[in-house]
Symmetry: C2
Subunit: 128 residues, 2 copies
DNA sequence: CTCAACGCTCACATCGATGTGAAGGTCAAG
DNA sequence: CTTGACCTTCACATCGATGTGAGCGTTGAG
């Protein structure tokens, strides 16, 4: 498919799709006329990228992460340098921290909402 | 304490502390001479802000979140408008999505690392 | 053939989070 | 009284993620 269709199916603008490519996150092939050609798997990859970006990860990290996020679990082991492993472990730890932090905050909000809602319920009973 | 100490204790630059204030996230008092004066609780708040920012939340959301993230669980209920509640519920949902997404990805990396490490162990046994 | 809809590249604009520095005020130690 | 280490405001710079548009090529339908 071409860039327009992919944009529509992923909700990511054409501009950004080209940007992702520039950042080395996706590498579509080119038709003879120079048009970018995307395959079906790109839909998932782009959504993955979008999600990670939304989650606050920078593209240069996403680039490191992507190769180990595909389903068929291809073994890239021979190409994996020790440095990459270290980077991945490091990133994994950072992800965990982030998750923990967000969870704590979400739970705090839940608590708060719980309290607030109970109180306003009580108030409703009184005023009614 | 003044801005320098707070910066040192939180690891957040003076510049950013002023920026947070400009964004309405913290409101230090002023000494007669115009210097910003921070209290002990600001240390925690600033670290909270830093964490949320690192987690990818924009300041305008953090501003909404902060009032319900303090420990003594003050009841702000009387001041809470229905719109704010809706916003909070919405933000809570978004946080959950983010958490879920990050968790999935972290686990995928864990899987990958698991596989890669096992393979390289096996290789070591062979070559040794 | 022409026109609309799409694609391409390139470049400049914006926005939020930050850095950096200028020009000046405050204050404590020597 | 001076010097150095703070503080102030203001403004411009940068960086990453995005938008927008100009100028031009491609393609398919009428």
């Amino acid at each position: 498919m071409r860039i327009g269709e992919l944009a529509e199916r992923t909700g990511v603008s054409r501009r950004l799709l080209r940007y992702y490519e520039e950042q080395g996150l996706i590498t579509p092939t080119r038709s003879p006329n120079g048009y970018r050609e995307y395959g079906e798997p790109h839909v998932d990859v782009v959504q993955q990228i979008k999600g990670l970006l939304d989650a606050g990860l920078p593209t240069r990290i996403i680039q490191q992460l992507l190769p180990c996020l595909d389903k068929p679990h291809t073994i890239y082991a021979p190409f994996v340098t020790p440095e990459m492993i270290v980077t991945l472990q490091h990133e994994q730890a950072r992800l965990s921290e982030r998750i923990e932090f967000l969870t704590r905050n979400r739970d705090a909000i839940a608590d708060y909402l719980g309290t607030v809602l109970t109180v306003s319920e009580r108030r409703e009973q009184i005023t009614s």
